[in-house]
Symmetry: C2
Subunit: 237 residues, 2 copies
Amino acid sequence: MKNYTNICLVIAMRAEAQPLIDALQLVEDSSFCPGLPMRAWTGEYRNIQLSLVINGKDPETGLDLIGTQAATLATQFAIDKFDPQLIVNAGTAGAFGENGAKIGDVFLSRDHVVFHDRRVPIAGWDKQSIGYFPVLDVSDLTSLGFKMGVVTTGNSLDMPEHDEENIRKIGGEIKEMEAAAVAWVARLHQVPLFCVKAVTDLMDSGIPTHEEFDQNLKLATENLQKGVTKIIDFLAT
Amino acid sequence: MKNYTNICLVIAMRAEAQPLIDALQLVEDSSFCPGLPMRAWTGEYRNIQLSLVINGKDPETGLDLIGTQAATLATQFAIDKFDPQLIVNAGTAGAFGENGAKIGDVFLSRDHVVFHDRRVPIAGWDKQSIGYFPVLDVSDLTSLGFKMGVVTTGNSLDMPEHDEENIRKIGGEIKEMEAAAVAWVARLHQVPLFCVKAVTDLMDSGIPTHEEFDQNLKLATENLQKGVTKIIDFLAT
């Protein structure tokens, strides 16, 4: 892997980001996005300039912004401000137990990131809607103990039959709510990207996703922090 | 309605925008979004500064960008560049024949704009995901011959049972692919917004949406142009 010295972590929720902010001793950049919810922290790790951007909170509800709209803006602002050579989209996700995934596993993205809830049955637009945004080949990093899978994005926490069918058709293994939006904006700016996703829930467990998410968020974000820190350490010289 | 002197039209596709660019004699602003697909045109109509922003084309496929990601960025760039007092999200859409809608009808948004393909069954996030972004009350404009309806947004052209159920539950009457994203960004910046949507297809006609869309795009975009021009004329002094 190329020697990246300016890396931006794009993360949806504060709870997913905080262990990393602490471990990497990042400091908030209060000049980021004045008047808008998105927030950024920066720091240095050996030879690497780090930035970390989150979606921030909905000004009306006070809840963390999740999903692809907020991720689109956060990524655009991150690129505008920090001009990174590499974007790492980190977060929590669901996975399929039948593929051998376990709660707390940390996956890296493989091949491409896709949208599983965009259906436009017109030649050309069908493929464009799914996206198939290429991700950086990070198979070198599996030696650090990661699994790999195709990351698939949609704006819903549940997985009705219709979405499941799409996820299986496009080979999705990790289901979450932001990666394809981050990857789309990264590709527009030709910034390479990969994803690191820690498993909070197994889509085929029979337990509602939001219950598993609540139960396992702490474990998953701890493992996410350890995983991303190992990657930064591997990339630093 | 307030006297707006700086209005931005946010439109997804070039084919939807071109009749308006021609009728309003707008000129392209080539300084808009260098290196990115989004494009803008500007002009004056009596006392009104007009801008018109489209998503532009996917650099990989050459096809028009549609859907909520592109609309999010286009709206952000539109606000950054033109600082409008009012955003009008104009475009084509589907409607329900059972509600009396006909192909070519032009609808104005009523009450709020919603997402119909975001399901997050956690208290607070459920409502936040649907959005319910308020729209400007434009009932004064119905005297110009418009119908009104709740505009509902998703990233798919089809309407599987799951989406239809959501659309009916949230009272959606006009189904399209960008409005809620435009409205979300507009609300972040506290810019008032309403939508003007010309009907290309009836969701309950039994004919696949993309066939009706192709057949009726010309009629709908002509009616959209006439409708938006009438509104600009009404707002100008």
